[in-house]
Structures are given as structure tokens and as C-alpha cells.
């Protein structure tokens, strides 16, 4: 209880830090999509895009309804809950990325 309250206080006190820490499921994205998720050369950025757009893209990749080189193979490995969490995370970050 006390710990949860402290965690909340921490999150409130440090919006930048809290936002910068991706949930663990989203860490896998950072290997290619830039260390902050803002993209890397030919690989597009994820940050600052609406959560609904990111979730829909993952679902479409998984269903082979959206053409892709490797994202279909990746998207099929994640749960709805994980996709929602990482979409919300990247949506909350500024598009330019920061860390």
C-alpha cells in the first residue's frame, strides 16, 4: 500500500522519467525502432502516433491485411494486452523522441 502510494508519487513527480520508461513488452520494439521509439533511418518511428492507429496497425500486420516485410511475423507473437500497453506507451511520447 505504502509502496504503491510512493510509486504513484514518483510517477507524478517525474512525468518525463515515467514516460521514458517503456513497459517491458515494448522494449523489444526499441531494438529496431530507435532507442526512444522515434525511428531509426529506414525504420519508422512509433512515438507520438495515436494508440488506436498503432494497435490497428499491429492487428492488421498480424492478420496479413497490411503488407510488411517482417511486422506480420512479429505482430502475431504479442497479446492484445501487450499491444494495447505498448501502443499507449508510444502514443504518450513526443514524436521527435527524447531520452
Amino acid at each position: 500500500m505504502q509502496r504503491a502510494a510512493l510509486g504513484l508519487a514518483l510517477a507524478l513527480a517525474l512525468p518525463t522519467a515515467a514516460a521514458a520508461q517503456a513497459p517491458l513488452a515494448a522494449q523489444g520494439c526499441l531494438g529496431c525502432h530507435g532507442a526512444s521509439g522515434a525511428g531509426s533511418a529506414a525504420i519508422p518511428g512509433l512515438t507520438g502516433r495515436p494508440a488506436a492507429e498503432l494497435s490497428a496497425a499491429m492487428r492488421a500486420f498480424a492478420a496479413n491485411e497490411r503488407p510488411g516485410t517482417i511486422m506480420g511475423r512479429i505482430a502475431r507473437g504479442y497479446t492484445e494486452a501487450e499491444i494495447a500497453a505498448l501502443a499507449a506507451h508510444f502514443a504518450a511520447l513526443p514524436a521527435g523522441g527524447s531520452r
Partner: protein, 425 residues
């Protein structure tokens, strides 16, 4: 963490956390996370720890002052990249508050929770992330020891980059029409597609500069990662330049004579070559073995959720040294699982449960100019090990798909920039 202000905020929060949580507030200060090894696993762990758990006091021990990566080393062999493109400074980690110590860990005392450094110092820890990489099993191929590797480079443990540079010089010095011999080990070993990307990149160099030359790849197994894709690409791009000899066709090298550059296979065939690259059988790095962490396989068994050693509580072993099958021994897996290991270590320091995990890997390989292929995998821990998520992952499609190949080559370059920033940036 891109401003002084947020850094100060972190420190204030760390102090507040320490006051409120006596379990992590040691008399002498913050909980100590000691990271041993500054490669993809160790550097990623140290960086992630400072970003996600700023209340941790993070020290990284790595012998090299700059880290030379295995990934993209094959492009150096091809002349497509220089050594400067594949080595990374630790200044980024220092700027994030990591204490970087350039030394070797000579011994681990998991009971006293301390390590002994070659330089004489002793470092204590509360939790350790051990990412020591691999050892080459000298002598597993008769005649192939450290001295022989100065004539027949392995270029599989970059260290200061000397091995990669040596193999590159030998390829440059070779006359057109020479045979490049490559000996490839059985599973498991570091970077399963790596030898075949290396074959591809050497072929690319030879095709441009020494087109009468050949590559003789002698393999201790009958199948390899992305095999149909590699073999399609070899035929399309390099014709009959590459001969791959599997185990069942007497491909396993059992003996070498370094002085004459002769590779001898199981059934006695002797191949004298102009340049020999010997990728020998491997195990976890010596420090993991001497600390008693490895089992009879030579690799370190770990808890699939925390990566904590089965033999030594408090030591989380990540990267190529652990037995993470069916995950490959790749830089991506080291980067990705290092973060889970840090999250687990942080949770255990606070007396909290280890968080849920999902692991991810992507391995791109360059087959030729603007010709890339990939294998990806999503993995989850179970009570007994690690499994790949059914109906996900896999390799690039086969066929005449130049747009796909071009895109994947570009993505490979972007991947390297991204993941090295996520480790050393």
C-alpha cells in the same frame, strides 16, 4: 534522461525512495547493481538500469576501453564498413551515471557477493548482471589454439578488433583464384546465421575484386539458420563461387595445420586453402565456468523469468553465456533479455515479484548489396524453460522479391544504429 533537471529529479527521487523503503536503503547508500561485461547484454543492462531504476548504483566492468561488435564485422570483412563503424565508447553510459571500470573479473564469490579484479580491487554487489560472452574451446579442433588463431583467425570474439582486422588483411592480401576455407561449428554457438552472412560478405568482396576465387565452407552440421534463403541468394548473386559441405558430406573439421593452412575433416580429407577462418566450438566465457555457474553443456542454466543462475542466487546471467534455447545467442536477445534481468533484479531487491516477460529477437543478415534477409522470434518463459510463441516469428519469404530484400538490407542498417544506441548510447 536528456537534461540536468530530470537527472536532478531522479536523484531526489532516489533519495526519497531510499528513505521510504528500508529494504533497499543500505547503510552505505543505494543498492549496488554490478554489471560484468560491456557487450550487448551488459551495456544494455547498465543503460536500462539507470533509466528505469535510477535508485540503483550501477557499476560496469569491461576490459576493453571501446567495445567492438560481432554484428557488422562481416561488413568490415567485405570492405563495406570500417573498424571505426563497429566500435562503441562507454562515454554514453558514463554520462548516464554508470561507473565504468576497465578491468577483468578474475573471480566471483557468490556468498560474499563480491568479485575480484585483475587489477587487485574487490567490488561488492547486491545483485549482479553477468554478461561475459563466450569462450572459444581451444583444442576442440586439434591444432587450433590461441597461437594458431594468429595465422587462421576466428574473428568470432572481437575483443580489441584485432581478429576481424587480421582476417580482412588476409582477404586483401590473397591472390585472385585463391580458396577461402571457413570452418563452422555445430550447435549451439554465438550468432547462428553469422557464419553464413560471413560467407556471403566474403563472396561479395571476392566477386568484385578477386572473381576467380572460391569459398569452401566446411560445416559440422547438416542444416543452418535461414538456409534456403542464404542458398537462394548465393546461387543468384555468386553463381558457383560458394561450396558448402555439410556434416553428412564430411564437412566437420577435426584438425588444422596452421603453418600450411590445411583443414582436415572427420574422414581424413585435407583441404589446403589460401585463407582459413576457423570458427571453433564454444562455451560460456571462462569466468562463468570458473565460478561454477555452467553445467556439463558448457553453458549457464538460468531461471527463464529472472535469468538468475540456477547455481548462484543473486547472479543474473544474460547474453550468449546462458542456455536460453530456443532463443538464439544473438545481440538482440542479449539486449532484450538483459532488460528483463534488470527488471527482475530490481524487483527482487525490493521484495517484489519478478515481472511478466516476453522476449523478442530479430536477426538480419546481409547476403549481398541491397539484399537482406531476416529471422524473427517472440518467446515466453514457462515453468520449465522458454518457448517460442506458436504461429509467430520465422524467416523472410522465399522467391524473387527484390523490394523485400532491399528493404530488409536497409532495415538491417537501421537496426544496427538503433540497438547500439539502446546499448551504449
Amino acid at each position: 534522461m536528456n537534461s540536468t533537471l530530470s537527472r536532478r529529479g531522479f536523484l531526489a527521487a532516489a533519495a526519497a525512495t531510499a528513505l521510504a523503503m528500508p529494504s533497499i536503503a543500505r547503510a552505505q547508500g543505494a543498492a549496488r547493481l554490478l554489471v560484468v561485461g560491456g557487450g550487448f547484454g551488459g551495456a544494455s543492462a547498465a543503460r536500462f538500469a539507470r533509466i528505469a531504476y535510477p535508485w540503483l548504483d550501477v557499476t560496469l566492468v569491461e576490459p576493453q576501453s571501446r567495445f567492438v561488435t560481432c554484428p557488422y564485422g562481416n561488413l568490415v570483412l567485405a570492405g563495406e564498413r570500417g573498424m571505426a563503424d563497429i566500435n562503441h565508447s562507454f562515454d554514453g553510459l558514463r554520462a548516464r551515471g554508470v561507473t565504468v571500470v576497465h578491468d577483468w573479473v578474475e573471480g566471483i564469490d557468490p556468498v560474499a557477493k563480491s568479485v575480484r579484479l585483475r587489477g587487485g580491487a574487490t567490488l561488492g554487489y547486491d545483485r549482479m548482471i553477468l554478461s561475459p560472452g563466450i569462450a572459444l574451446r581451444w583444442g576442440a579442433i586439434e591444432g587450433y589454439d590461441e597461437a594458431a588463431s594468429q595465422l587462421l583467425p576466428h574473428a568470432w570474439v572481437p575483443a580489441d578488433g584485432g581478429q576481424t582486422a587480421l582476417l580482412r588483411r588476409q582477404l586483401e592480401a590473397m591472390e585472385d583464384g585463391g580458396v577461402v576455407g571457413i570452418s563452422i561449428p555445430g550447435n549451439p554457438f554465438r550468432c547462428p546465421p553469422g557464419p553464413y552472412e560471413r560467407i556471403s560478405m566474403i563472396a561479395q568482396y571476392l566477386k568484385r575484386h578477386k572473381p576467380k576465387s572460391k569459398i569452401l565452407a566446411l560445416d559440422a552440421k547438416d542444416a543452418f539458420s535461414k538456409q534456403p534463403l542464404f542458398q537462394d541468394g548465393w546461387k543468384q548473386l555468386y553463381g558457383d563461387m560458394i561450396e558448402w559441405v555439410p556434416l553428412s558430406k564430411d564437412g566437420k573439421v577435426v584438425r588444422v595445420d596452421a603453418a600450411t593452412r590445411t583443414l582436415e575433416t572427420e574422414f581424413g580429407a585435407k583441404h589446403q586453402v589460401a585463407v582459413a577462418n576457423i570458427i571453433p566450438p564454444q562455451s560460456a566465457a571462462r569466468i562463468a565456468i570458473s565460478a561454477g555457474l555452467a553445467d556439463n553443456s558448457g553453458w549457464v542454466p538460468v531461471n527463464p523469468r529472472s535469468f538468475e543462475s540456477r547455481a548462484a542466487p543473486g547472479i543474473h546471467v544474460v547474453g550468449d553465456a546462458n542456455n536460453g534455447a530456443p532463443m538464439p545467442k544473438s545481440g538482440f536477445v542479449a539486449n532484450n533479455t538483459a532488460k528483463q534481468a534488470v527488471a527482475a533484479a530490481a524487483a527482487l531487491l525490493r521484495g517484489e515479484p519478478v515481472p511478466e516477460a516476453v522476449y523478442f529477437n530479430t536477426c538480419y543478415s546481409h547476403v549481398g548489396d541491397e539484399y537482406g534477409i531476416s529471422i524473427v522470434g517472440v518467446f515466453r518463459p514457462t515453468d520449465t524453460g522458454i518457448t517460442e510463441v506458436p504461429n509467430s516469428g520465422g524467416v523472410s519469404p522465399r522467391g524473387n522479391l527484390p523490394d523485400q530484400r532491399r528493404a530488409e538490407a536497409a532495415y538491417a542498417d537501421a537496426w544496427y544504429a538503433s540497438i547500439t544506441a539502446d546499448a551504449w548510447g
